[in-house]
Symmetry: C2
Subunit: 286 residues, 2 copies
């Protein structure tokens, strides 16, 4: 499918993409770069890339496809570094969790922004780093693409093909702002809510007993709070508007439930839990 | 271990206890009663009990051990119905999620409250009803007992033995009020927080896109919101004080995170996520 792919940033996502490309025989050469010393060599040992590179330029040179897989706040710099080295027909995409800012940076920096399309595979893990990477991370996932009016049809088609070839079963196209709103709701709100939940639970005097009783419900509810704190920070910094808006709604709803509980309003409380169960079960079944 | 056990309430918990007792050969007879028509017969078909009974009295008569496994708010009535039928040496326990109220009811209603001890196996599922019951539900769980000063040592020992024989690997004794505070933090707060999360996510205009992107993180974070709404309601109604107190702390913490995000305070945001990850990882490792 590709002669040479460059992956810039070799953590969970970039590493897993490399492994998926290799395992499925989708690229002859996979050049990889990571800002942290030794990571590219480690990624080659793990089979995530074929060519560890010492610089962004070395990795990007001659690549048909460049995938930005570093933390969100590093993407602007990566774009600036790789831009002068891009082949004239190179396509650029990314794997970041928010899309408005990176799309703006791509249009500001790249000479051919029609060959950039933002991408977001809806897959992940609370584990991080190339050591957590695996070839089937994207198996069965949805992969969101965020083209804008000027994005070339060929760019969209090529990245959509990449997504399905490495395992995505659904490619969803959304405007960058719609994407960021949507993930604020189903991904970033849970991230903030569960971090707050963990700190609330572990920070009080009841924790010494409670920690011994906490079981599968607490473990699953808080799983995403064990994710990479830098990723979480970058998400908050690049998606502040939609995230604050949904947090306000969430806090308001919690406050209403709190008041129902304080007043012992059984019927109202039961209705809320019925509605939540119905909404979740419908989502799972749909 | 027991000649005859009576299980009053044949849902997920009562049904699973019956199955565990049978599979491990711990009771000759397991009498079962459920207020809903046909459930006791179904429980016998599934192998959860040996003797389906048409009344509380019929089930409780002659039992060495009576286990209250109905919804919390039904326990007072069950205690009143079973009390006159209890054998003089019968031990009574329950499987409910809160312990202050049921302990008070037992002391008010039973003629020998020294033979009652509250119990709470820290195991469960978002599925409910006897159809979801399984013999290994308690495998590896913690089982909390909530004796009070007047509880007989024999009662505690016998119910602790029951717990370990059906799979519990840890028996924790707490005062009823300490138990309720602890589970408010690690079990009831997650229940309320995730119900609010589901309703916030699914209730807004972004859901049509967001629902297609929601993945494993959203699924796991919200799992407990698919549980039985009546159980959740009874928990809120019998543990209102501790639950409201911890909800207030949670809302305050969310508000602080919301303000950090609104103001783009990267270092503070990262610190919060670092602390949450460290606390959760320590709990998992401990």
């Amino acid at each position: 499918m590709f002669r040479r792919v460059a992956i810039l940033g070799l953590g969970l996502m970039g590493g897993s993409l490399g492994m998926a490309l290799r395992e499925r025989g989708l690229a002859h050469e996979i050049a990889g770069y990571d800002a942290a010393e030794g990571v590219a060599a480690h990624a080659r040992q793990l089979g995530a890339i074929t060519h560890p590179c010492g610089s962004v330029g070395e990795a990007g040179a001659g690549a048909e496809l460049v995938v930005l897989a570093a933390p969100l706040l590093a993407l602007r710099m990566l774009l600036a570094e790789v831009a002068p080295m891009l082949a004239s027909d190179a396509i650029v995409t990314d794997l970041g969790s928010t899309k408005v800012e990176v799309t703006a940076w791509a249009h500001e920096i790249l000479t051919a922004p029609d060959r950039f399309v933002g991408g977001h595979p809806m897959a992940g893990s609370e584990r991080s780093g190339v050591k957590a990477a695996c070839a089937d991370l994207f198996e069965g996932c949805a992969w969101c693409l965020t083209p804008v009016a000027s994005t070339a049809a060929h760019t969209r088609a090529r990245v959509a093909e990449l997504a399905t070839r490495v395992g995505a079963t659904l490619v969803v196209e959304l405007e960058p702002a719609r994407h960021d709103e949507a993930v604020a709701v189903v991904s970033h709100l849970p991230l903030v809510a569960t971090a707050a939940l963990v700190l609330t639970a572990t920070g009080g005097h009841a924790w010494s007993a409670a920690g011994r009783l906490a079981a599968g419900g607490f473990r699953d509810t808080t799983r995403v709070a064990s994710g990479d704190p830098c990723m979480a920070r970058d998400i908050c910094l690049t998606n502040g508007g939609p995230l604050v808006a949904i947090l306000d709604t969430y806090i308001e709803r919690l406050r209403a439930m709190r008041d129902d509980i304080a007043d012992g309003r059984g019927a109202a409380i039961q209705q809320v839990f019925c509605n939540a169960k119905a909404a979740r079960d419908e989502w799972l079944g749909g």
